[in-house]
Symmetry: none
Subunit: 554 residues, 2 copies
């Protein structure tokens, strides 16, 4: 996006005043342990990032990783970005060759990506130990690679690996690397804290000193720098902000901070901070309010549990325990939120807890689209019931769907339940050979549209464990009448033995989260018997999900 540099106002530090948001979710972020994308996943993530409005999307390393080569081939045919440019990552040419003849470099050009991002060494120790070449040849590799890219009409970025370590070790040489790349025509040179060991004061100091050295020999508008931070000190977002405040005009990061070790800078936190804290406009209009949705959608594609506590985008990012402050929050939420949650497409959530008063139940109802302010009696009934249940160990703060079922039961006569349980039986057998089998039988009435019983069913199923078997039996009984059930998946199952109670003799609380691919909801069940508590959470979760999916209800 084009806008003035925030530090220098109308006199931008960098030519053209261009600022780049550069996403590397699909390249560096894919280094994360346990994370694997299919090519289709990568295409879907790229589309979401373009919807958000990032400027550059680094898609992978064509030529080196076969599925990345395929991704670029398909991207060239299938992706039609509104805003972003696709970037191919690779290395500068090998030592003592020419970029034009280097097969690795050729693969980058073959990818048809309009932008190249080439990794280069800026720390002499790595030049010697990893590249096994000389200081001069390293510079020649960089200059030749940038020029060859430019000759093929590519924008070229240079990623200086281990820049901050190199700059500390030998500032002369590290500066020379950056200067060489800029003089050869690099769009920007990106300073990488590859090992992630820096804190913001280090970044401020190094970027300021580097700029001083470069501006002594280059026109100021040609000193175009970027920042790539890793989170090993827990400071990746802050390091990126410090670099911007010291004059870089290009920030790299990944969706939700995915990446190797403690991850990369969380690009979504960086963007939100740049826009709401530094007053910069780095996304196209309407982008920022997509942040929460896109964060969750990418987590789904990556098959990662969304981080509830992520800044800005987490489900709990703006969740307040109401308690004694509920009325103050109601009067002036701005005093309790650092930004308006809707700015990033998130919501303020009031957690309903034992301390809940009517004010917080009313607020919570409003979140669900149910106005309780006019129905004092219902409000009293709900508040009383919440307190009663919470005192017995229910926890509605983590179980919004159960809370919604409770509220709707009180104000609208309840959501129609798809079935009514008659009996269940669960058997777990450990045989003399050590094998264990779980089997469940459920007997239930299946209800019609208006909650009337229309059919009686018995079904039996086996499972890995007792709750898994119950789930399977229940689905088997309901499958014919509720085919949508197949879309509802169990995404999490938590068991807690309640505080103050004793061992297996105690009250058990079960939280079950389900998803239909669009939304996720959590229900709670509490009982002395773990199976019964699980059953309650399971039955409510399915009832909620089946109602959610009916076109007539939302």
């Amino acid at each position: 996006m084009t806008q003035p540099d925030p530090q220098t106002g109308s006199d931008p530090a960098n030519s053209g005043g261009d600022f780049h948001v550069f996403d590397t979710t699909l390249r560096d972020g894919a280094q994360m342990e346990g994370l694997r994308y299919s090519v289709a996943d990568k295409l879907a993530v790229a589309e979401l990032l373009d919807e958000l409005g990032v400027d550059y999307i680094e898609g992978g390393w064509p030529g080196a990783i076969p599925s990345d080569t395929e991704f670029f081939a398909r991207a060239a045919e299938e992706l039609n970005f509104k805003h972003a440019k696709l970037v191919a990552f690779g290395m500068t040419r090998r030592a003592h060759s020419s970029a034009a003849e280097d097969p690795g470099f050729q693969a980058l050009l073959d990818s048809r990506a309009p932008v190249l991002c080439l990794v280069a060494k800026s720390d002499m120790r790595h030049v010697e130990q990893a590249l096994k070449t000389t200081a001069e040849e390293n510079l020649a590799m960089i200059a030749d690679s940038v020029r060859t890219g430019r000759e093929h009409d590519r924008q070229v970025f240079i990623d200086c690996e281990h820049f901050f370590d190199g700059f500390r070790h030998d500032p002369e040489y590290a500066t020379l690397v950056v200067r060489t790349a800029l003089e050869a025509g690099a769009e920007a040179v990106v300073l990488c804290d590859t090992n992630g060991g820096r804190i913001p004061s280090d970044i401020t100091e190094a970027v300021t000193e580097l700029r001083r050295r470069l501006e002594a020999v280059l026109p100021r508008e040609r000193v175009r720098l970027g920042m790539h931070a890793q989170n090993d000190t827990g400071c990746a977002v802050a390091n990126t902000l410090a670099a911007v405040q010291a004059g870089v005009m290009h920030v790299q990061g990944t969706a939700n901070g995915y990446g190797e070790r403690p991850g990369n800078a969380n690009l979504f936190s960086v963007i939100a901070n740049l826009e709401t804290k530094l007053g910069m406009k780095v996304l196209p209009d309407g982008g920022l309010e997509q942040l929460t949705r896109i964060s969750h959608a990418i987590a789904e594609i990556a098959n990662m549990i969304p981080d509830e506590h992520a800044p800005y985008t987490g489900h709990a990012a703006f969740a307040h325990k109401a308690g004694i402050h509920a009325s103050a929050i109601k009067a002036d939420p701005a005093l309790y939120n650092h930004v308006d949650p809707t700015v990033v497409g998130n919501d303020m959530r009031i957690l309903v807890t034992e301390m809940a008063g009517r004010a917080s139940v009313e607020l919570k109802g409003r979140e669900l689209g149910i106005d309780l302010s006019g129905d004092k009696e219902a409000l009293d009934r709900i508040t009383k019931r919440v307190k009663e249940l919470e005192s017995k160990g229910w926890s509605f703060e983590a179980a919004d769907a159960s809370f919604e079922l409770l509220v709707r039961d009180e104000v609208e006569g309840g959501l129609p339940r798809p079935f009514k349980l008659d009996t269940y039986r669960v058997i777990v057998d450990h045989d003399p050979n050590g094998a264990t089998v779980a089997e469940a039988t459920v007997r239930l009435d299946i209800n019609g549209e208006h909650g009337e019983a229309v059919e009686h069913r018995i079904a039996t199923a086996q499972g890995n464990g007792p709750v898994n078997a119950l789930d399977a039996a229940l689905r088997s009984a309901l499958a014919a009448r509720h085919p949508r059930l197949a879309e509802l998946t169990l995404s999490d199952f938590k068991v807690r033995i309640l505080a103050g109670s004793k061992g297996t003799d105690a009250v058990t609380r079960v939280l079950i989260s389900m998803s239909d691919g669009e939304a996720e909801w959590t229900t709670v069940g509490v009982a002395p018997n773990l199976i019964e508590a699980s059953w309650n959470a399971l039955a409510d979760g399915l009832a909620y999900g089946l109602n959610r999916r009916k076109p007539s209800k939302s």
Copy 2:
């Protein structure tokens, strides 16, 4: 810990050069959604924090939260800290009263905690809207509360809630609040970014300006400030470092960053950064290398999945994908790690050598009084078995009794097992009236003194839930031969669905704690089936307990 301020070298900014590491895991960290500690959990967490070597442990709010009152009562009897001081959190006295007569304030004194941390308002908008009192009365409340605490020989900290918002809104008044608290004798005044909306440059600017204002009216050594950051911008750790670099001498945070919304500053990241990046010594000798162990142990107690990607302490914090750099990493790991992982008790995963594993097993053996140093083969066998089991989801960190059973099995032919399971069957029935019954039948061989089978038994029992029924059946089968069983009680039962797996279909880990009134021990069981995992933990726990109680064994 005593050491010079890192920014001013031998001329510390703050009197005495004292620097405080102040942990609020058990108070502010307990605000985290879905997290609940029992009193026993809190006592265990406090002991771990003291082992780490933090200076202050804020235990809760006695008088306001009944279980916190109980915690302080038990802490006064049961905890014997090597290093830390226990802190009771509370409010300054109410408006228009006196601290001496305020029942809330009296409850703080009754807690017997040697240190008080009192929350105060420093933002006029909150004084008006939440406290509903005047600027002057707010100052009087603070001064009176600090003085009363001091008169009762308590150290007193003042937490200035919403300080940074208040200082931006009205710097005069916010400064006056801090000055009033310091003049009344507060040990330090803690600047809280309560809404968490700040980035490091904000903190540097505000702390610097506040110090300038205070040092104009107070002797420099009396300007003793602290920092409490929340992570809403993803900058809590960096904000804390920025505050230290600007001259605060007291840092607050929580284990693993637990806390409301995106959490508090992760105290473990703060500590590691202060020690390894700023060269400060803030823990007693040997503390820092406990960081990883204590981080994981507290996660287990809190029943939270440890964050694999946490800086410094995460399982993946120093995990490298080998790739093209494998040999370079092996040749000179220092070029690829921002600090030596062993400094914080962690491992570089790619190079997890047999030696590293054996060293920690040997160390753990020594803790149990078993010298493994002379038996290289046993050490190898145990290390291999631990690695194998941990890779399948076992966790010995929180289950010392299971680890001891494993070690003794390898070096001494094993502790004699009181029984050998043949089969079990568990049935849970939910009848048409909604009543639920759990029944378990176990069939087993009872062993004699030397582990030989002497008797075959079948027993059936009912229970509140399936594990309770199993426990009852097992006890019924063993009761005649092992009357001591009656002394062993189940004190905790935790169930964790392992990360990365899906819903009820996943691998389950069960931790069971038992007590015989003298000691408590924990065993672990892992299986896809919850009942089977529970059985394993239960059987090991009873075997351990029965052996423990034999006069011939310890």
